[in-house]
């Protein structure tokens, strides 16, 4: 089998993520029926993270495979993965805004401002398909290459991360601490083991925390209130 240890490790984490999120979809049915803006965004986040994990697993599965089509497949997969990587923090900003304020008008107003980093990043990623400044598959060498501009994809994510921290700092410091622990683990582990991808898993962990808080707190208040 062509799979390396780190690739197998990533695939195990991705399968775990899909399993966790599939379970979440079953368990969130209790308040998904309620269908407010926050619930819908949360459900989209779950679906987006499932797709991200599946794409991540697919990329790592085919990376060192002998198949001729793997170059196109991995490029397409990683392009979609990176687009979702940009969209998910944006959705998280919207979700948290609605969860913390409960004001649909404020959240829809926020979309008009907060969507721009995401839109620019998506354009940047789509441009990469032509100019290859972020990542590409080197057909001659048969390896996947991260170009010099790769770190540009993190700019929008960092912007959204800052917005999320400001949102949580004002209203919910406990969630903020959990958020920081999860992101901190991601950064530390990424520096120790560079070849394992755990982004979908970390997002799943955050979604689990949000789900439990939703069940414990805001949903109670809404029903009781």
């Amino acid at each position: 089998m062509w799979l390396s240890e780190t690739n197998t490790g990533t695939i195990i984490l991705d399968i775990t993520t899909i399993l966790l999120l599939a379970g979440m979809i079953i368990f969130t049915s209790l308040y998904r029926k309620r269908g407010n803006l926050g619930d819908r965004v949360f459900f989209l986040l779950l679906i987006a993270d499932i797709i991200t994990a599946a794409l991540d697993g697919m990329n790592f599965f085919f990376e060192k495979s002998p198949f001729a089509f793997k170059g196109a497949l991995i490029t397409a997969g990683d392009t979609l993965f990176t687009i979702l990587y940009e969209i998910m923090p944006f959705m998280m900003v919207l979700y948290l805004d609605y969860r913390l304020r409960g004001d649909k008008r404020h959240t829809t107003g926020l979309i008009r401002i907060a969507v721009w980093p995401c839109v620019l990043s998506v354009l940047l990623i789509l441009g990469n398909l032509i100019w290859k400044y972020l990542f590409y598959f080197d057909e001659a060498e048969g390896v996947y290459v991260y170009a010099k501009g790769y770190d540009l994809i993190h700019i929008a994510v960092v912007i959204y991360l800052c917005i999320i921290l400001v949102q949580l700092w004002k209203k919910d410091k406990r969630t903020m601490i959990m958020y920081l622990i999860a992101i901190g683990c991601r950064i530390v582990l990424r520096n120790i083991i560079r070849d394992i991808s755990s982004t979908p898993f970390i997002v799943a962990v955050l979604l689990i925390f949000f789900h439990i808080l939703e069940m414990n707190e805001s949903f109670y208040k809404e029903v009781d209130g």
Binding site: T6, K33, A182, L213, V223
Partner: protein, 342 residues
């Protein structure tokens, strides 16, 4: 094989498992109620954290050759295995308590099940000197013996025993909302199988995912379950009203007297998958997906007769004196909600 990378993958998945469980334990409990089930859950989570920590220490020592590396790795692996053995035992305790809700039931049944756990623990401790279960090589590699797989088999049996408990409970007419053993057992088995057939240890991660699912069902139970009767609580009714529901008819049973007697009759006489809501101290609402009044009347009379029979037989406890009212959505043409307002 790049063994250092392999160990790193194990460490990574164990750290993720710890992250999940520490996160769960940081979140306050929904209702603030502390029952034995929550206590057992916390013990299980701690067990998995120790399992993951033991695994992490051994994996981190992989390939190290300093003097204490081997004994420390052996101790870490022993702690990890002990934590695993006690966690599956706690799982059985948890399932029993969730099903029967009785500490006495736990005390009666579980000393027998504790004996194999004690034996396994003793064997694990003996293993540190004899290597009958596993050995730790000079390069801190883990080599299991046949006995080790026997021990893992016993752990699997304990995990699956929960399914038997559940089946027996359901066969006796019991019904437990927001609790199922499958969402816990499936990830645990997957993690264990991955650990057995590959060189990666995904056992802690599988257990952590199983506990997360268990926590989800606990949160749902806190939210909508009535702790005393095992029926739904009033909040569930509010939830049904808010979300819209498919229920077309209802029977509201009002009674004075022995609550446990009434609840027992409702459980035994109404269909198994009934939605029964404890509205207040002596009022129970039974929701149906039909608005056929003869059918509702038949069920209501069935319950009433069982209550009367209980009263006449001079059963221990106060008289039940059951009354009922039937409402249907079709009878209420305005909003269709009147039948939920009893």
């Amino acid at each position: 094989m790049n063994t250092t990378t392999l160990s790193m993958v194990t460490i990574y998945s164990d750290v993720m498992a710890i992250l999940l469980l520490v996160g769960l334990m940081l979140i306050p409990r929904g209702t603030g109620k502390k029952d034995a089930a929550t206590g057992i859950f916390v013990t299980m989570a701690l067990g998995v954290i120790f399992l993951a920590l033991g695994n992490t220490v051994r994996a981190a020592l992989y390939g190290q050759h300093f003097t204490w590396a081997e004994p420390v790795a052996l101790a870490a692996q022993t702690v990890s295995e002990l934590a695993s053995v006690f966690t599956v035992y706690q799982w059985i305790l948890y399932v029993d308590y969730k099903l029967y809700g009785s500490r006495d039931h736990l005390k009666r049944r579980f000393p027998v099940l504790f004996i194999p756990i004690i034996l396994l623990s003793v064997i694990l401790l003996v293993n540190t000197g004899t290597g009958i279960l596993f050995t730790i090589g000079e390069d801190i590699s883990f080599t299991p013996t046949v006995m080790y797989y026997f021990m893992v088999g016993i752990e699997f049996l304990y995990l699956l025993m929960a399914v038997v408990f559940m089946a027996v409970y359901v066969a006796r007419g019991g019904k437990k909302k927001f609790f199922s053993t499958a969402p816990v057992i499936i990830p645990v088995l997957l993690g264990s199988v991955v650990s057995l057939v590959t060189d990666y240890s995904a056992r802690a991660l599988g257990l952590a995912v199983g506990l997360v699912f268990l926590y989800f069902s606990m949160a749902a139970g806190w939210r909508f379950g009535d702790k005393n009767s095992g029926f739904f609580n009033k909040e569930y009714l509010t939830y049904l009203r808010k979300t819209g529901n498919a229920y077309l008819g209802s029977i509201c049973f009002k009674a004075a007297g022995d609550a446990s007697g009434i609840e027992g009759i409702l459980k035994s006489e109404l269909p198994r998958d009934s939605i029964i809501i404890r509205n207040d101290q002596n009022s129970y609402l039974f929701l149906t997906e039909t608005d056929a009044e003869p059918e509702l009347l038949f069920l209501a009379e069935l319950v009433k007769k069982a209550a009367d029979l209980r009263d006449e037989s001079g059963h221990r406890g106060k008289a039940i004196c059951l009354e009922y009212t039937i409402n249907t959505r079709s009878a209420d043409q305005d909003t269709g909600e009147l039948f939920l307002k009893n």
